[in-house]
């Protein structure tokens, strides 16, 4: 009996100790199952009623009709002539558009003029601004989706609008370009270029056309992801002798490692608060999801957290714009599926099976785009309906929606 404490201590000391910085969620947080379709029963706030009054001027009628079409497609509020909460009126001459919004009390809350060269471009900007002024959430008309396609015979980066129109090839590298991501304001795209024969992360300003190299280190560089403020970028680099996730400051060109792994990390994505990065890491048992809390000071170390998503093969995670859900690719039953799960805990929703992969949230968090067998889809999370927005354009992969 006297030796019992001694034996206990010896046994305790023989237990293998876990890595110092690896923190896992407690077991009781892992799987909270919600009944199927529970999310459909959540009451939604009543939609605002908006009246689009006649537009004056030479192109006023066309402008009004096109604006109604944009707002109808956006489905952010109901368009009604009776008892409106907001009234939109304006004028359009020669493609230039002026508009203002009055609330129910007759107070003006918005008055802007759009003078871009085309009427369509002006109306898309107006529609997005109206939606933001009334709902507080961004519209999608001016948003862009970037993706990779091998239509030209080599993988190149393309852009399109959320309807799959206005497709534009933005890279023409002889050895291809992959892994694109759009800046939060849509002004630039970062991607991995094979121009030199080796993977290098480059940044292309879409407005001015200039290009610059973000990382050109030995080994591989890929998986760039802009921080929400557009000032930093998370990227995978392997110059240390192992692939690691780095956060690089785009203004100072300095980088700090946040992953601390001997595995194979990939596909980093930022939380909207700019303080966390989620990524997949294969430490020998398939890719799982991890969170790195990005330190605010250079003398601090990143804190790592394993997030149990409920699947043993998870890649391409992306936080929703609200930061309360994560969409990711999981392998189930021999093929990939797009999954959405509440963060840090919440219900799991299998959005699409049968080879769907690489989800990316719309700026308003209402839709998710992904690819399936080379076709680009948009899936409405409220209605559950999806539509193919771009097919027959080569093999489309790696879509990313502007945030």
């Amino acid at each position: 009996m006297r030796a019992a404490p001694l034996i206990l201590i010896l046994l305790l000391s023989l237990l293998p100790q876990p890595p110092a910085r690896a923190v896992t969620l407690p077991g009781w947080l892992r799987f909270i199952k919600f009944p199927a379709g529970a999310e459909k029963n959540v009451p939604r706030p009543a939609q605002k009623r908006v009246r689009v009054a006649d537009f004056t001027g030479g192109t006023g009628t066309s402008a009004q009709q096109a604006l109604v079409a944009e707002l109808t497609a956006a489905r952010q509020f109901s368009l009604s002539q009776d008892d409106p909460d907001f009234t939109v009126s304006g004028s359009s001459v020669g493609g230039r558009v002026s508009a203002r919004i009055l609330n129910r009390a007759g107070k003006e809350i918005f008055d802007r003029t759009y003078a871009a060269p085309g009427l369509d471009e002006n109306l898309k900007s107006l529609a997005d601004d109206l939606i933001y002024a009334i709902t507080g959430k961004p519209g999608l008309a001016t948003s862009r989706i970037t993706f990779v396609s091998d239509k030209s015979g080599v993988k190149q980066i393309y852009l399109c609008d959320p309807n799959g129109r206005e497709v534009q090839q933005i890279t023409h590298h002889s050895h291809g370009a992959v892994s694109p991501t759009l800046a939060p304001d849509g002004s630039a795209v970062a991607y991995t270029s094979y121009r030199s024969g080796f993977p290098v992360v480059q940044l292309l300003d879409l407005g001015l056309g200039w290009e610059r190299t973000v990382t050109d280190t030995p080994g591989s560089s890929f998986g760039a992801a802009y921080s929400p403020d557009g000032q930093r970028m998370a990227v995978v680099m392997s110059f240390l002798g192992n692939p690691e996730i780095f956060v690089t400051d785009l203004t100072t060109n300095t980088a700090a490692c946040i992953s601390d792994t001997i595995g194979a990390p990939c596909s980093p994505a930022w939380h909207p608060d700019g303080k966390r990065v989620i990524f997949a890491d294969d430490r020998g048992d398939g890719p799982r999801l991890y969170i790195a809390e990005v330190p605010s000071r250079s003398d601090q170390e990143a804190k790592l957290l394993r997030w149990r998503a409920g699947y043993s093969f998870c890649t391409d995670p992306e936080f929703s714009p609200e930061g309360d859900s994560v969409a990711f690719t999981a392998r189930t039953g021999g093929s990939t599926a797009v999954i959405i799960k509440g963060w840090p805990t919440g219900p799991t929703r299998v959005l699409q099976t049968g080879g769907a992969e690489h989800p990316s949230w719309s700026p308003n968090g209402r839709q998710v785009c992904y690819t399936q067998h080379g076709t680009l889809y948009i899936h409405d999370l409220h209605t559950g309906q999806r539509r193919a927005i771009l097919s027959g354009h080569g093999q489309i992969t790696e879509p990313r929606w502007m945030k």
Binding site: S13, G219, S220, L240
Partner: protein, 158 residues
């Protein structure tokens, strides 16, 4: 020589155990670290040619990997040991290129192929090849090797 009192021995053991447990945040545990935990940073890539830009000759048969594994097998070790044994004669430079099959998600395929290439590089360094003569790159399935199996690491002589 008098034996130490049992209470003193017990106290010493308790103190040692407490010291060990309190410092477990920095100790790596009682299990020996695998050799692969020691990683060697890559040197400059200057002067290395890419297989995308020119036809390069493989220095040995392609190393095939099963599934999504990135650890080396006995067959890999055998090939690498013989390659490392022949290296001191002419001290060639090698570009170690990882590829992955098309069925994997793109970004994961890139990191997996790079991780496999790094594992091969590690073993060559441990077998005596100078680190400065070895570069790695992982193409995932953005580029295909000449071999029919796409889940491979190919070592190209520069």
């Amino acid at each position: 020589m008098k034996s130490l009192p049992p209470r003193l021995v017990l106290s010493c053991l308790c103190a040692l155990s407490a010291l060990h447990l309190s410092s477990c945040g920095t100790l790596t545990g009682l299990v020996a670290e695998p050799e692969s935990d020691i990683v060697y940073a890559l040197g400059s890539r200057e002067g290395f040619s890419s297989p995308l830009q020119s036809a390069l000759k493989p220095a040995c048969p392609a190393l095939e990997f099963a599934g999504v594994r990135f650890t080396l097998t006995g067959a890999h070790e055998k090939v690498l040991t013989s390659l490392a044994a022949a290296w001191p004669e002419t001290k060639p430079r090698y570009l170690i290129v990882g590829y992955a099959p098309p069925g994997l998600p793109e970004d994961y395929a890139r990191t997996l192929s790079e991780r496999r290439a790094q594992a091969v590089r590690q073993r060559l360094i441990e077998s005596g090849v100078e680190a400065a003569n070895l570069q790695t790159v992982g193409y995932g399935h953005d580029s295909a090797p000449s071999s029919p199996n796409t889940s491979v690491v190919v070592i190209y002589r520069q």
